[in-house]
C-alpha cells in the first residue's frame, strides 16, 4: 500500500518489520489511580537531565529556594534550566550520583526540603491566543521541558525547526512492558493532554494531529476519545500491541507508511512526534506557568508492596520512592530505571528521578531472570527476524567484536534504536544491545578525538606561524635599528661632527705605521747583526 495522504487520513494502520510480544505485566501498576508521592527530606537535582548542554548554576550553598525557582540558567541556543522541586535550602553543589548506567558522578544540586513546599509565583503567558511563537517557545524553554518519552531532547528546540508539516503525532503507545505512566496520565488528564496538543499544533503551524495508543489500553482510548470531541483537528489511532511500536520510527511507519531516512529526522518527511507526557507538560507550562517539577513514574515489580503510578518530584532519590512504596529486597536485588527492555540497572539507590525516568522496576529473580552466561552465536537468525530497523544483528555483533567501525557504518549501526528485541529472542543469551551501545560509544569517542586532534593541529600550526612571524619581525627590527644607526652617523658627519669612520681609519693608519716602524727596526737590527758577525 502506498503512503498517499488519503489512506493516512482514512485511518489505515500499516505495519513495521520484526517486533516481539513479551509479557506485558502492566496490570501490576495500571489499576491504581495517580497518587502524589509524599515529599522527601532532601532532593538531588542533576544540572543536566536532557540531551544537550547544562545551564549555569545561579544559586549558592546556603541559599533558600522556593519550589519552581530556577537553579540554572541557559544562554541562547541549546540547553535547558532545572528547577527546585520543593522549597528549602541548597545544602550542596558538587559531584553526585546521576541517573546514568555508568554510575559516574556529575554536578548535582542538593536541596534540603523545609517541608512547607512553598511555590514561587507562577509566570503564565497572559494572552496565549496573541502570544508570538517565539514567546511560547521561550516559555517552554524556561519551564525546562524536555521530551518525556525517553530521549530527553529539549522540546522547544524540536519545535523551533520550521518546516512544512503534514502531521503532529502524539505518542501514547507505551509499548514497553510494565510501564503504565502514560496510560494513567491519559485516563485522568485527557483534556490537558489535548490542550497541550492544540498548543503544539499552533506552535508548529501543523494542520492536524494523530494520537496513537496501543490497543491494550481500552480505558485510555475511551478517555481520550471522549475528550477528542472538542478538538476537530485531532484524530485517534489505535495500533496493535507489539513491541517496539512506540519507537518513533516504528510508530511513523505504522501511522503513515513512511520511513524516516537513515540518520534523518521525522521532520524530513513532514512529521513531528511528541509524547503524551510532554503534551501535558506543555499545557501546564503555557496555561499555568508551571515549570517541569514532577512527572509520572511507574513504580512496579513483584518486590514493591504498593505498586502504581506516582507524581514524583524531579530530584527525588529512588530510595525515598521505594521506601514509600515499601519494597522488599532479595539478595543481589536489582533496581531498574526504565523498563525491562530498555532500562538500566542502578548502581545504588541514591540516584535521583530525572526528567527521563518513566519507571522504577524492582523485579524478583523469578519474573525477570538476571543475565545468563553468554554462549556462542548459533546463527539461528532469530535476531534478524525481529529487528524493527531491518538490520543484521549477528553481523553487527561480529563487526563490533572485531572493532571494524567502517563495517559497522556500512551496516548502519546508527539506525539501531537499541530496543533490545534481538537480545530478547537470542537463544545464546548474547547481550547484543550492549555490544551495539559500546560500539556506538567508541565510534562517537573516535569522532570526538578526531575533532580534538583537528583543533590541536590548527593550534600547533598557528603557534608555528606565530613563532616564525615573531622571528622575522625580530630580524627586521634589528636590521632597521642598524640602518637607523648608520644613517644617524652619516647625518652627524654631514653636520660636521667627527666621523667615527675617520677615527677608525686613523687608528688603522696608526697601527700600520707602528707595524712598519717595527719592521724597519727589525731590519735595521738584523743588518747591524750581519755586519757585526
Amino acid at each position: 500500500m502506498t503512503a498517499d495522504p488519503k489512506t493516512i487520513a482514512a485511518g489505515h494502520i500499516w505495519t513495521f518489520p520484526g517486533g516481539i510480544h513479551p509479557p506485558e505485566r502492566k496490570e501490576l501498576s495500571n489499576t491504581y489511580p495517580l497518587r502524589e508521592l509524599p515529599l522527601a527530606t532532601h532532593y538531588s537535582v542533576p544540572i543536566k537531565q536532557h540531551s544537550g548542554e547544562p545551564g549555569d548554576i545561579i544559586v549558592r550553598v546556603g541559599q533558600t529556594v522556593l519550589a519552581g525557582q530556577p537553579l540554572t540558567q541557559v544562554g541562547v541556543g541549546f540547553g535547558l534550566p532545572v528547577h527546585a522541586p520543593t522549597s528549602g535550602t541548597v545544602t550542596a553543589i558538587g559531584p553526585g550520583r546521576i541517573a546514568h548506567p555508568s554510575g559516574l558522578p556529575d554536578i548535582v544540586i542538593t536541596i534540603t526540603a523545609d517541608g512547607k513546599d512553598t511555590f514561587a509565583p507562577p509566570l503564565p503567558i497572559q494572552d496565549v491566543a496573541t502570544a508570538s511563537r517565539a514567546d511560547l517557545l521561550e516559555q517552554l524553554r524556561q519551564a525546562g521541558i524536555a521530551g518525556l518519552g525517553g530521549a530527553g531532547f529539549p522540546t522547544a528546540q524540536k519545535l523551533a525547526l520550521q518546516r512544512p508539516l503534514d502531521y503532529l503525532i502524539i505518542n501514547g503507545v507505551e509499548c514497553e512492558p510494565y510501564i503504565s505512566a502514560d496510560d494513567r496520565l491519559m485516563r485522568e488528564h485527557a483534556t490537558t493532554i489535548l490542550r497541550g496538543t492544540d498548543l503544539l499544533l499552533d506552535i508548529t503551524q501543523c494542520p492536524q494531529a494523530l494520537i496513537a495508543i496501543e490497543d491494550n489500553k481500552p480505558e485510555a482510548i475511551a478517555a481520550m476519545q471522549a475528550a477528542l470531541t472538542d478538538y476537530p483537528r485531532m484524530q485517534l489511532r489505535v495500533v496493535p500491541t507489539k513491541y517496539p511500536s512506540g519507537g518513533e520510527k516504528q510508530l511513523i511507519q505504522l501511522l503513515t507508511g513512511r520511513q524516516v531516512p537513515s540518520r534523518g529526522l521525522p521532520i524530513d518527511i513532514g512529521l513531528v512526534m511528541h509524547n503524551v507526557g510532554t503534551a501535558y507538560a506543555v499545557a501546564r507550562a503555557i496555561d499555568h506557568g508551571e515549570p517541569l517539577l514532577q512527572r509520572v513514574v511507574t513504580v512496579t515489580g513483584e518486590h514493591v508492596a504498593k505498586p502504581g503510578n506516582y507524581w514524583v518530584r524531579l530530584g527525588t532519590p529512588v530510595e525515598h520512592v521505594l521506601q514509600v512504596t515499601r519494597y522488599t529486597a532479595e539478595i543481589n536485588q536489582r533496581v531498574i530505571m526504565g523498563g525491562p527492555m530498555m532500562g538500566f540497572t542502578l548502581p545504588d539507590l541514591t540516584v535521583p528521578v530525572v526528567k527521563i525516568t518513566n519507571c522504577i522496576l524492582v523485579p524478583s529473580t523469578a519474573e525477570l531472570a538476571p543475565p545468563q552466561q553468554e554462549m556462542p552465536c548459533i546463527r539461528c537468525g532469530a535476531c534478524a527476524d525481529v529487528c524493527p530497523a531491518q538490520l543484521l544483528p549477528q553481523q553487527l555483533q561480529w563487526l563490533a567484536k572485531a572493532k571494524d567501525y567502517d563495517g559497522l557504518n556500512q551496516q548502519n549501526l546508527f539506525d539501531c534504536i537499541e530496543c533490545g528485541a534481538c537480545a530478547y529472542v537470542c537463544p545464546s543469551e548474547i547481550p547484543l544491545v550492549h555490544y551495539y551501545r559500546k560500539a556506538k560509544a567508541e565510534v562517537r569517542n573516535i569522532a570526538r578525538e578526531k575533532a580534538k586532534a583537528e583543533v590541536a593541529r590548527e593550534r600547533f600550526e598557528a603557534r608555528n606561524e606565530r613563532l616564525e612571524r615573531e622571528k622575522a619581525e625580530r630580524l627586521e627590527r634589528h636590521r632597521k635599528a642598524a640602518e637607523a644607526r648608520k644613517q644617524a652617523q652619516a647625518e652627524a658627519v654631514k653636520a660636521g661632527a667627527d666621523n667615527p669612520q675617520d677615527a677608525v681609519q686613523a687608528a688603522i693608519a696608526r697601527a700600520k705605521a707602528r707595524k712598519a716602524a717595527q719592521l724597519k727596526e727589525q731590519q735595521a737590527n738584523s743588518e747591524t747583526d750581519g755586519e757585526s758577525s
Binding site: 521505594l322 522488599t328 543481589n332 542502578l346 545504588d348 539507590l349 583537528e454 603557534r463 608555528n464
Partner: protein, 190 residues
C-alpha cells in the same frame, strides 16, 4: 604524401594533447603533497615529538618520504593500522624505543607552587598554557593534548600528568558488568 599526412596528424595530436596537459597542469595545480595531508590527518596531533620529529606534520612528511609508521605512541596500534592501510605497507607493532601506548592524560599545574617562569608556556606546542612572567600559570585542560613536553622544563616540578577522567558522555558500556548489590535501607531493617 601519406607519410607526410601521418606525420602531420600525429604531430597535430601530440600538440593538442600537450596543450591539454599543459593547461591541466596549470589549472588543476595541487598546492601541497596530498599524501602528507592525509597522513597528518591520521596522526593524533599530540605534537609530543616522541617520534623524533618536532610535531605531527614533520613526522607525516617523514612517513611520506619512507620513514617507519610505528613511531607514534599516542596513536598506538589503531593509528599504525590506519597508516598501513593508507600507504599500503604492512602494519608493524609499535616501536618501543619511542615509548609505549598509554591512557590519555592532561597536564595539571599545582598552582600554589608555580613561580611564574613561563618555561612551560614556551614548551607547549599548542599554546594550551596561560600565564605571564611572575604570575601563576594554568593549563587550558580541553586544549591540552597530553604531550608531556611542559613537565621537563619546569624548574620546580609543579606539573603533573593526570589521566583524563571518564565522564558520562565519554563512558563506554562495560560488557563484564559486576552484579550490583543492593544495600538494605533503614526502613527494611526495622
Amino acid at each position: 604524401m601519406s607519410v607526410l599526412t601521418a606525420i602531420l596528424v600525429f604531430g597535430g595530436l601530440a600538440l593538442l594533447f600537450g596543450l591539454i596537459l599543459g593547461f591541466a597542469a596549470v589549472r588543476f595545480k595541487v598546492e601541497s603533497d596530498p599524501i602528507v595531508d592525509q597522513i597528518d590527518a591520521i596522526l593524533p596531533q599530540t605534537q609530543c615529538g616522541q617520534c623524533g620529529y618536532p610535531g605531527c606534520r614533520p613526522y607525516a612528511q617523514a612517513i611520506a618520504n619512507g620513514d617507519a609508521i610505528n613511531k607514534c605512541p599516542p596513536g598506538g596500534d589503531a593509528t599504525i593500522k590506519e597508516l598501513a592501510d593508507l600507504i599500503g605497507v604492512e602494519a608493524k607493532p609499535l616501536d618501543s624505543a619511542h615509548g609505549a601506548e598509554d591512557v590519555k592524560k592532561v597536564a595539571v599545574i599545582r598552582e600554589d607552587e608555580c613561580i611564574g617562569c613561563t618555561k612551560c608556556i614556551q614548551a607547549c606546542p599548542v599554546d594550551a598554557i596561560l600565564g605571564a612572567a611572575k604570575h601563576m600559570h594554568t593549563v587550558i585542560a580541553h586544549e591540552c593534548t597530553g604531550c608531556d613536553l611542559c613537565v621537563e622544563p619546569c624548574p620546580v616540578d609543579c606539573i603533573d600528568m593526570v589521566p583524563v577522567p571518564t565522564k558520562p558522555e565519554t563512558w563506554q558500556w562495560d560488557l563484564q558488568q559486576i552484579p550490583v548489590k543492593m544495600v538494605a535501607t533503614a526502613d527494611q531493617e526495622s
